[in-house]
Amino acid sequence: MRRPLTIAAALLAAAGLALAPAMGLAAKTKSVGVHDDYYAPTKVKVKKNAKVKFKWDKINLNPHNVTLKKGPKGVKKSKPCTHGKITKCNKSGTGAIGIKFTPTFNKPGTYNFICTIHPTTMKMKVVVKK
């Protein structure tokens, strides 16, 4: 009896996909490059619940991370993670290439990030609107 379950799951998934844009859940994902030794761009504006995908340059020599330096009131600094709500996942792993970090900005405000290895040269901010 696996087939009906599969069909049901497919129907639910399709319904979900159809509903998501209508409910405003599929906010556009923006990208930020993580390079030796800079972020690009250094400022991103997104709507609430949008994701920001940080992409490590494949030719990096040096290790980098994306670490929350300062965020809206109540956002506590997290352990390293790869994805999730920014209120609980706001620090990437550290590495030169292949690191994954795509947090969802579920709380409006301004988020200042740094690379803790290159704190003076690698800074960027994400502004989240309501």
């Binding site: 352990k79 550290t94 030169a96 290439i97 292949g98 690191i99 290895i117």
Partner: protein, 477 residues
């Protein structure tokens, strides 16, 4: 019981007691301050991955945990992040470090990223890694670092690697960043796209804790030792050979705590650093994109790392290069220069370096290609004394004398090859032109065009490395 039986029983008890010794040794000595070792092996141990043992160590209240790794291949990227790992030791159980392997191919770190490091240690003091072979990681073999060098808390101290071999990690083998003190010893590194051994971003210290690198072997790397803004480092009793450059302390804006300085390079063998990794057939590829671009009015072109050099002091302040054997490097034995092209604040200034009592060129049997010594004439108070078989690179236009470029120690008053720019990053124009011509060769493998090549007489167990495929017909006229 008869006497023979008593002897047999006593013998049996003794045997049992002796059998128990290795187990108790593995478990630690059992004193109040000793923790039970966490044993990792592929089959039959409580911990089958090093990370699981590290996680357990992070949960124990006692410090100074010891993780013992039995022979085997461990495909994982290990992380020990935070002060809860102060005093941690991770050691192979075999005397031979090649028995316990940390393998980077297909390895993941604890949060699922492709493993960039074999072992990453952040913000922990007194962490020692011993008797392991760490290879094929996306970034580094073993990486100790302070995650916030801005706060002056010096959370990375006394990192030690002993008998840790590293190979073919994409960037560095053993790598300290923002740390104080510590040591790398009895270790071998080869096949790295930057350097086998790296000490970088050393914080300024009022009472410096020395970082000691001793009894190392670095070969077939882009650089044997590199240290951007490294300080208070002693490199001794080691062999650096068959690299692009043997040893390169350097100053760059990209990392904190400029410049590099106050180091010692002594009693090393630094030889045959003629690894032309720019050639397509090299099995090691540089991860550097170059050191910038030359301004168009100076001819343009990407500035690459030099090759064929034993020691390059790049923007260094206060290094002592003494009692080394330096030979068979096809460009220069020792070079010292500043960065006049764009270091913010001109921190990359060559000054106060002493090059003394080195044996150059093995009594003329294995000379350093063009010259034993080369300087750009920048900075001030760099001196040369007591070196055997010395040859000094001159200007081609007689704009400075050798006595001006390579003064004896201490430097006689008024000695300066470039009086108009005394003490600054601006060197002698002719010497600087020689350097820039070399490091902007296009394609970069044509640096070999300028080398003064020759065969090497036998030296101990070592064999010179030549990358095939260099075509001299492509050299500029």
């Amino acid at each position: 019981m008869n006497r023979r039986l008593i002897v047999r029983v006593a013998t049996a008890l003794l045997a049992v007691a002796m059998l128990a010794v290795p187990a108790s040794a593995i478990a630690g000595k059992g004193g109040k301050n000793k923790n039970k070792a966490l044993v990792v092996c592929k089959h039959g141990c409580k911990y089958r991955t090093i990370q699981k043992a590290v996680d357990k160590a992070g949960k124990t209240k006692k410090k100074n945990d010891v993780i013992k790794v039995k022979p085997g291949k461990y495909v994982e990227g290990v992380q020990a992040l935070g002060k809860k790992f102060n005093g941690l030791t991770i050691t192979g159980t075999s005397k031979n470090p090649r028995k316990a392997i940390l393998e980077g191919k297909n390895a993941k770190d604890p949060i699922g990223n492709p493993a960039n490091n074999g072992i990453e240690i952040a913000n922990a003091k007194n962490v020692t890694i011993k008797k392991l072979w760490v290879r094929n990681y996306l970034n580094n073999g073993v990486f100790w670092h302070d995650t916030n060098t801005d706060d002056n808390k010096a959370t990375c101290q006394n990192a030690v690697a002993n008998k840790v071999d590293t190979s073919f990690n994409r960037s560095y083998g053993l790598f300290m960043f923002g740390c104080e003190g510590g040591a790398f010893k009895n270790s071998v590194g080869w096949g790295h796209g930057d350097s086998a051994f790296y000490i970088g971003a050393t914080p300024f210290q009022n009472k410096p804790k020395e970082t000691v690198l001793t009894d190392l072997e670095g070969y077939e790397n882009v650089l044997g030792y590199s240290g951007t803004n490294s300080k208070y480092v002693t490199i001794k009793d080691s062999d650096f050979y068959n690299n692009g450059v043997g040893i390169v302390p350097n100053t760059l804006d990209s990392e904190p705590f400029e410049p590099n300085g106050h180091g010692v390079i002594k009693d090393n063998n630094i030889f045959w650093n003629n690894f032309n990794y720019f050639l397509p057939e090299s099995r090691v590829k540089t991860v550097s994109n170059g050191l910038g671009t030359l301004p168009p009015d100076l001819g343009g072109g990407t500035i690459q790392y030099p090759t064929g050099v034993g020691i390059a002091l790049f923007g260094s302040d206060g290094w002592k290069v003494t009692d080394n054997d330096i030979f068979g490097n096809f460009m220069w034995g020792v070079a010292a220069f500043s960065d006049p092209l764009g270091n913010e604040g001109n921190d990359a200034l060559s000054e106060n370096n002493q090059v003394r009592n080195n044996e150059m060129g093995r009594d003329g049997t294995d000379t350093n290609g063009l010259y034993d010594f080369w300087v750009d004439g920048s900075g001030s108070n760099n001196c040369f004394k007591g070196n055997d078989s010395s040859t000094f690179a001159p200007t081609t236009d007689a704009s400075a004398t050798l006595a001006q470029l390579y003064p004896t120690c201490p430097v006689p008053a008024g000695t300066q090859p470039n009086p108009g720019a005394s003490g600054t990053v601006v060197g002698n124009a002719d010497m600087l032109g020689q350097l820039l011509t070399y490091v902007t060769m296009d394609p970069p493998e044509n640096q070999e065009c300028i080398w003064n090549r020759h065969s090497h007489p036998k030296f101990e167990k070592f064999k010179p490395l030549t990358v095939p495929g260099f075509d001299p017909s492509g050299c500029p006229a």
